[in-house]
Amino acid sequence: MSGAAVELIDVWKRFGAQWTLESVDLRCPEGETTAVVGESGSGKSTLLQLINGVYSADRGAVTVLGEPVPTADVHLWRRSIGYAIQGAGLFPHLDVRNNVTLLARLTGRERDFIEQRYRTLTESMGLASDLDRRFPHELSGGERQRVGLCRALMLQPKLLLLDEPFSALDPIVRRDLYDLFDRLRARESVSTVLVTHDPREVLRLARHVVVLRGGRVQQTGPLEAVLREPANEYVRSLWSDRFV
């Protein structure tokens, strides 16, 4: 059995009196894409932010590749974890190249590395080089999201966290992006946690799945197993509804 990219053991998290996550146990296999699927309010975004140390758990343990999330200098921890979000969140005052390479330059990576890595990523994501000097407001929604994914992968992260990056895109753009991303991810063989509310996206991109509802894990396991033997009615309804 290969190691876990991410492991949560009996994790509890609350904001005020409200428990957002209750006794969460899960394990994302290394080198694969794990989808965390749930409706809004299920706690799936909070889950991501426990992994990159934006929040800390009230109880339980969160580890990435066997290492617990540190409490000091957390920003250094985050640098080894790629992050992309719905709407891309590109820095509006920086052009495409600077958006992608900002952190690499700040951490003192060599120019050659930066240039080569930037070129490889943008080409893989189908971004033409004449976009290098464009600013975010001059890009289409799909282009912005591709830039966002390039930024997330720039420093060759050991883990990639995706917070619904494909949600706001129209279906055709999304389909193209699935293909581009999946190919790139496979080549980089980076462990990925994808948060989504779209069961179809899970089918398209993930090998492993975590179903979250109301802060509790409903079922977790390989995708085929979950589809074959849903643990409860909620899990069954997630996929059956859409394929009737």
Binding site: G89, P92, F135
Partner: protein, 494 residues
């Protein structure tokens, strides 16, 4: 320690010779300017180094400035010292006043001679017609006369109520704006009104001042009020005109300033020449040197205040914006500061910082702070939350988030705040002249006191031009600092 004291007093003694620097202040009304200028010119004749800080508002500001050592002398009136400073009901002699003033480190020198008190006046021909020369005469015939006095005189204890009691006047007169009373007298609409006995209007309108034969009105004898610590030479120089100016002469000099279109500096020179004290220091006819001087001071006041406000406002904004309640409180307090009327804020500075550039810059700084602080905080708290989250999640340190993401995004709003602060400061700085900081407000304050529109324009026009110029400069700065795509993104933060 003792040796140090000896050395200090030696230095002080050496300093207190003819090259002693003497700061002359003045109240902001025409006679105040004129007599202070007379004192300044007399001191210059004797070789003293003189600095003028004229137009310092009323008694309160001047007296405070004197006791704080911000000025060394200004012209005060005995009645005012007795009532406003010492809170006495009576007006003692100058010697008695000096006994009371001694613990405060100030003293009155000898009076110039005339008494500028409240008085009742009427047209000369009318007085002759009715054979009225004294207030007692007036009392005998006041039933036939239309007596109208200024609103303030009507209310003050040492005004109408007191006169009426002292002379047995039974009719209550009407009230009028002081400025209109002279015109009304001239038109024959009214017969008698209250005046200050050395007003230039007395001569101008052919008025006669009724003798206060029962000595009701307190004496307001003008005399230099000085810091006791001044050297005897300086005091002697200022005493040289003791008892040489009559009320009638003072009226004529005041009239030359108010109606003759002659600057108070020139009239002061005349007044000295009339008393055999020629002053060779010619007054310059060109307005350019003073304009350049005033503009320079104005820019310096504004620039220092603005620079301070940028440093403090932006840093404070950065320090508090992550903590919502603190950011709110800070902006609220800065907003409160803005609601203090500027003239009151300047006044409040005097007990703390005295007069001159320091309190003026402090007040301007406090005014400039709000727009800069508010825009900084607003811009930093209204950033796109997705961008903020990404900056955090990709692993930028706190400082890096600020330096490479938050501040660049907030820059357009911050620059807009600085621009607002700059324009406000340039306008408000004209009021700094009231507390002796100089600048383009100087000619405005003087012009207002002397009713001289030319002087007012000499300050107002360049101040307005400066404000417009500032707008233009900042437009350029914004174009340089704020790329177009950002101006669109964060425009609403301002």
């Amino acid at each position: 320690m003792r040796r140090l004291l000896v050395l200090a007093s030696l230095l002080y003694a050496a300093h207190a010779t003819a090259s002693e620097r003497i700061v002359v202040g003045s109240k902001s009304f025409n006679e105040g300017y004129l007599l202070s200028e007379v004192i300044a010119q007399m001191l210059e004749r004797e070789g003293f180094d003189v600095e003028r800080r004229f137009g310092l508002g009323g008694t309160l500001i001047c007296y405070d400035a004197l006791t704080h050592g911000d000025i060394d002398v200004y012209v005060e009136y005995t009645g005012t010292v007795a009532q406003a400073v010492l809170k006495l009901d009576t007006t003692p002699t100058i010697d008695e006043l000096n006994t009371a003033l001694a613990p405060r480190g100030v003293q009155l020198l000898h009076s110039f001679g005339f008494d500028n008190t409240y008085a009742l006046a009427m047209k000369e021909y009318r007085a002759r017609q009715l054979r009225i020369a004294t207030i007692s005469d007036l009392a005998d015939r006041h039933g036939e006369l239309n007596i109208v006095v200024s609103h303030e005189f009507l209310e003050r204890g040492d005004g109408w109520p007191g006169v009426a009691r002292a002379y047995g006047l039974v009719r209550t007169p009407g009230g009028i704006e002081h400025g209109l009373a002279y015109r009304a007298l001239d038109d024959g609409a009214i017969d008698v009104t209250d005046i200050y006995s050395t007003d230039g209007e007395v001569a101008r309108y052919g008025l006669v001042v009724l003798t206060d034969d029962r000595h009701f009105f307190p004496e307001y004898r003008a005399a230099p009020l000085v810091r006791t610590a001044l050297s005897q030479q300086a005091k002697d120089a200022m005493d040289a005109l003791a008892g040489t100016i009559t009320a009638g002469q003072m009226q004529a000099y005041n009239a030359r300033v108010t109606f003759g279109g002659i600057s108070y500096q020139e009239v002061a020179t005349e007044l000295l020449a009339d008393r055999g004290k020629r002053n060779d220091r010619g007054t310059s006819g060109s307005i350019w040197p003073s304009l350049r001087h005033n503009t320079g001071i104005h820019l310096r006041l504004t620039a220092i205040a603005l620079l301070g406000a940028v440093l403090v406002g932006v840093s404070l904004g950065i320090a508090v914006y992550r903590i919502r309640w603190l950011a709110k409180t800070t902006v609220y307090v800065a907003g409160l500061m803005q609601t203090i009327p500027s003239i009151a804020l300047l006044g409040l500075m005097i007990p703390l910082l005295g007069i001159g550039a320091v309190p003026a810059i402090t007040a301007l700084f406090l005014y400039s702070l709000l727009p800069i602080l508010r825009n900084t905080v607003t811009a930093l708290t209204t950033m796109d939350p997705v961008v903020v989250r990404v900056a955090l999640a990709i692993g930028l340190s706190r400082v890096e988030q600020l330096r490479y993401v938050h501040l660049p995004l907030a820059m357009p709003a911050i620059v807009a705040g600085i621009r607002t602060a700059a324009v406000i400061s340039i306008g408000t700085a004209t009021l700094a002249a009231f507390i002796g900081a100089g600048g383009l407000g100087d000619p405005i304050v003087t012009g207002l006191a002397l009713n001289d529109p030319h002087l007012i324009l000499q300050g107002a026009v360049p101040a307005a031009l400066l404000a417009i110029l500032t707008e233009l400069v900042f437009e350029g700065v914004e174009r340089l600092l704020v790329p177009r795509h950002l101006a669109a993104v964060t425009h609403d933060a301002g």
